[in-house]
Subunit: 406 residues, 2 copies
């Protein structure tokens, strides 16, 4: 008998009908003999609706109170799901994040998990109950409600799986698993059977939306085995685990893209030590994540420095940057929102050279202009015009023969 | 500088616009120098909507989980209200019932407050914050979320006012105060300036919906001064406090009615000691409140026993009663849902005889048939056909010269 954490997203519990069908799936797993801890997101568009409501009350809603408001979405899900399971004759009990002892730091809206209590869960499991836990939320040591930000419910699931510990963490999605590229753009994209944490991490940070990078990182650190699968059928999905020998066969695992970023450039800064630190220290202090960074020398001793941030952080990043530009006597700031990032990911890259060259050639043949380049051990990312995303993804998917028919 | 508990109902916070206008009123009170603890209900129809949602998931939703679900309504209110107040430049902080240490027993859906923590509130008040507390909710000693049932938010307000203790507990309503009769039925009904707890208690249990009986009882026990007033204007409303000499001038304070009850009759039970206990003990065990009770002797030694319960409790009361009727060899059970209760209330009744006679005469002249009668020291209630309510209320209001023009 295994202890399994199952995570269901908002679209899986959007309506009472969805809720009942998730309950049926959970009961099937229970009948098969597993002990279950289920993590669930807010139903459908609830979180967005609550944000819109708060914006009608105040233009810039207080962050502590936003967390109090948003946490109600998942609380409704856990209650309704427990109701649905009990109605099927199985014992279930719901817990909010605070109730189950998910302790976070105090960064409202994007809090980090500090500690997880597992006592209540183990006690309920011992009584034969199916345990339903609200994703996305926790509380500070001082009992203030917090939320974990983007992908927060996934993180709750992985963190619970690590804390209990569970044998497996299953993510139920509206797709069959992780694909070599977005099937909506590349019709012959293939489901990937197994991925290493590193590959999933790079694919996630490169835009594969199936699982967010924070959660994969947490899973990697704690050795949590992950299974990403469909909530609509019983097909095996994609497993994510430690790298095994067989994985290295493939040069490239997948092609991903992201339209969620924009590019900021600080123009005309003098080239002297400490400039980059002067720019990125205040951004880090404001909890703004910077992705790609490129510095080019335009004239003798005068540099431009470009980097990308999430579009949602643009407003704040710009504010911080304006202060910095003044201090550095920079000549100005440029913002480009019309960009996208396309990446190829694969552990095979480590032992094969020439992937970058193949990538650039394929993009050139497809007439796609490259703006920025950044590489890691198992990933190459390029920034291109947003309008060229589909062309680029298709060209790269074909170039590296990732398709089902290849 | 006084410490005031203000309570706003669901209709006062139904929309973002309402929310902002409540925030403005709170800020006005704060500017006037008062320390404020604000108790708020769920917005508009939220609670009803959540109940309907749960019923779509399961016909008989689990009671523990219903409380987890329903508690989200007030949690949304406190967050949005705190957001609105902070947006006006005043410091506010929201607390859920569990956060503020409202400890209840374990009767989900109608829990009773056992204890209230005031530490967090006093700490926040000392920092100059306006404290917003979710009404209607608490948690058990084991940290299970509970709700307090009908009128629960009023009860939260009074209980907080008693625990802190506050100088005054203000209830903001969509009416100007407590009236001599429902102004929608009796156009010349008059606002009452001051009431004793006893009168308000009898009026509340007799159907005056402005404040529920549980809350008034709690206020009476703990000497909480209450002010019921309008959230739409600044007129003084009705104060409720210990009886004073001046109050005895009026014979009758008001006429109230309730259509929320129905009548159950157990037919053909043998007249022997212990029969009433055998009927009402299981009803009490099922937490069902019985209001009026009448026993009449139809034949030698064979009785019928009638009583009224809230319409919402009919289903369960009937179930309990069917078991009892079988045990007692009763000949059957009769249910009448088409009844209403009309009452006259006033402390003056104590020292004046003849009120009952005047009441019955007035009803007879108005051609209203009386089904059951019950009296207390300061109230006389009659059960009449539901269709005759308005006629009866108007007749009694005129009989006792309660109108503004009298």
């Amino acid at each position: 008998m295994a202890l399994v954490v199952q995570k269901y997203g908002g679209s899986s519990v959007a309506t009472p009908r969805h809720m009942r069908s998730v309950a049926e799936r959970i009961v099937r797993s229970r009948k098969a003999g597993d002990d279950l801890v289920v993590v669930v997101s807010a139903p459908g568009d609830t979180t967005d609706d609550l944000i819109a409501l708060a914006r009608q009350v105040a233009e810039h809603p207080d962050e502590r109170e936003m967390d109090v408001l948003l946490a109600t979405g998942e609380q409704q899900s856990i209650a309704l799901l427990a109701i649905a399971i009990k109605d099927l004759g199985f014992d279930a009990i719901s817990f909010t994040g605070p109730q189950v002892g998910i302790i976070t730091d105090e960064f409202h809206g994007k809090a980090r998990i500090v500690k997880i209590g597992d006592e209540k869960i183990h006690r309920a499991l011992k009584l034969g109950k199916i345990v339903i836990v609200a994703g996305f939320q926790g509380q500070t040591a001082d009992e203030d409600i917090t939320t974990l930000g983007r992908g927060g419910s996934d993180l709750t699931a992985v963190a619970l799986a690590a804390a209990l510990p569970a044998d497996l963490c299953e993510f139920y999605k509206d797709v069959d698993g992780v694909f070599t590229a977005n099937p909506r753009i590349v019709p012959d994209a293939r489901k990937i059977e197994a991925l290493s944490y590193e590959e999933m991490l790079e694919m996630a940070s490169a835009g594969a939306q199936v699982l967010n990078a924070r959660s994969v990182e947490f899973a990697k650190k704690n050795g949590v085995r992950i299974h990403v699968r469909s909530s609509l059928n019983d097909n095996p999905g994609t497993t994510i685990q430690e790298e095994t020998a067989g994985m290295e066969d493939a040069l490239i695992t997948g092609v991903t893209y992201s339209k969620d970023e924009c590019k900021l450039t600080v123009l005309g800064i003098r080239d002297k030590p400490g400039i980059a630190a002067a720019i990125f220290r205040p951004l880090a202090a404001a909890e703004l994540n910077v992705d790609m960074i490129v510095q080019d020398v335009s004239e003798a001793g005068i540099n431009n420095l470009s980097f990308t941030v999430a579009k949602g952080d643009l407003r704040e990043a710009r504010k911080v940057l304006e202060g910095v530009a003044k201090e550095l006597n920079a000549s100005g700031i440029q913002v480009d929102e019309g960009i996208a990032k396309v990446s190829v990911v694969g552990v095979g890259m480590r032992s094969h050279s020439g992937v970058a060259a193949q990538m650039f050639e394929a993009l050139a043949r497809a007439d796609v202009n490259i703006g920025m380049i950044s590489t890691s051990e198992i990933k190459i990312s390029v920034v291109i015009p947003e309008a060229d995303v589909e062309t680029a993804v298709r060209a790269l998917h074909a170039q590296f023969r990732l398709g089902a028919s290849s």
